[in-house]
Subunit: 354 residues, 2 copies
Amino acid sequence: MADGSQIRIGVLSCTNIVRKVSRAINLAPNATISAIASSITNSIEETKSFVLSNNFPPTVKIHGSYESLLEDPDVDAIYFPIPASLHVEWAVRAAHKGKHILLDKPVALNVYEFDQIVEACEANGIQFMDGTQWIHNPRTAKIKEFLTDPVSFGLLKTVQSCFSFAANEDFLRNDIRVKPGLDGLGALGDAGWYTIQAALLANSSKLPNTVSALPGHVLNDAGIVLSCGALLDWEEGVTATIYCSFLANVTMEITAIGTKGTLRIHDFVIPFQETEASFTTSTRACLSEHKVRNEIPQEVCMVVEFARLVGEIKYRGAKPDGFWLSFSRKTQVIVDAVKESIDNNLEPVFLSGR
Amino acid sequence: MADGSQIRIGVLSCTNIVRKVSRAINLAPNATISAIASSITNSIEETKSFVLSNNFPPTVKIHGSYESLLEDPDVDAIYFPIPASLHVEWAVRAAHKGKHILLDKPVALNVYEFDQIVEACEANGIQFMDGTQWIHNPRTAKIKEFLTDPVSFGLLKTVQSCFSFAANEDFLRNDIRVKPGLDGLGALGDAGWYTIQAALLANSSKLPNTVSALPGHVLNDAGIVLSCGALLDWEEGVTATIYCSFLANVTMEITAIGTKGTLRIHDFVIPFQETEASFTTSTRACLSEHKVRNEIPQEVCMVVEFARLVGEIKYRGAKPDGFWLSFSRKTQVIVDAVKESIDNNLEPVFLSGR
């Protein structure tokens, strides 16, 4: 693809995750980094040095503020590596400036905030996508094929998904994910986000009827979730359990059981290998191991798909693909419901109308 | 071992499971089948033909009733392949006759019944064991080693265990496991029994503080559990979820996550291979696959261990090993609690004092 047709992405601040995502943008043939904004916490000098050490294109513009980046006519879309508490303000402002949005999870502190982003995106024809990478791994498409195969898998009965990692002392004290004013949703908005999307994926993205937090959650002194589980309940006998934790060894499982088949994945969030990912299926007791090659890492797949959708709008007058906005919203609704159930003595939360 | 020192086992009736267990007794060097009882549903003629077609020793005595077998001085121990609703009566009678007891799960319809068996066993110096086979697979000992290793596994945070199989129409209509008068506890007393023991095993056989049934259980018209899940809760942040079902594809998983390591098994109830069983561990993100050879199938390991304990009592004046009575009782307490929670609008059941 000629450079002229690449989608130009602006990056809002330079945090650690930007190293991975900027590499992904560099590797995506249909996208490029055109600008980065420094912020109160990153001076222009720091941003310059970050840009140099992370192989940003030499043409990249460095803005002194988020506002300035939002005004840049050479920015088609913005990637937001900022705390969730700032999402609603900056994503809404970006949408009103006609910038497409790649937003890290959790997409907001709650769905009421997120609905302001939804409204701004819909009013301004903005393509939205949350920054969950594994969904874009080619393996995920193969998994969906199996989960919707009436012969090999049948009808879903239960899906159990789990993402944990043992955070160190420094993380548990200082990371934005354990601070009420910043990401606020703790392990639930971080590790839990992935497990909820795994449950939705297995259920054709259908919202469950009820969500109940499970006994045994752990909160820090500020009331932030460090570890919790939840049960999602669809029609009779179809359930999902999720488990997310900052306090347990790194584990990334999906086990989905249908009437005829079973799916198992042990590395669903970050595949053990960068260019090949595997999963196991069984139909009755007959096991198969599947390997799916991906020529490019999954975070690049994400950027490629995001830039493709933005390109469809920019060059071919297409409408935004609303799936991603809706998928993120459902995830946020479930995150909120788990939190509400925890705050309400583990009572089930009914999602009808949400 | 000379024949004279073999433990002589009597079998109470001939049902399908007897084919597997009688083969196991035949293969166990320290046990032999000395007698079988026919019953109202099996005539003496039928029992004779069963004995012939299942390679029972030619010396086996055929009794016309359970009572007659209980009086047989050439029977040291009894295996009870009879519905759970009959366990309390016949196990108590057997204990009073000095017969050691190998009892299929669920060991009783509830713990109040089971406590009568406990009392009779303790009053008469009876060795008790429930017929759960996987616990005796040499793999299980290796799993326990990993789960109690402070360096590789650390402290348990959560264990998720699941046993399901898709029963056919005939099973769902006629099997004793779905009949209120017979086994009565449905998938919970059958598949669930295994998952509960897996959770106990991972928690050093400690009873949880509370047990809560999860939303989404399925009952048949007679109120028998066909599918359900439950959450077991120990001290802060240590939990287990179990899932058992007659309605989902055959799946037999244990995933245990500690502070430092993770254990995964995909065939814990019946290993994919009869003479080798595997499991996977990871410490941090470093994976290892373990294979454990067993020279004899796991059901034979069970009989060998049972006969060894009975032999210790019979030949060396040892006392019964109380672990198995206590382990079965804890399992039954949890089965009862899940049932009680289902009957009580999924309220958590506190196990203190049970």
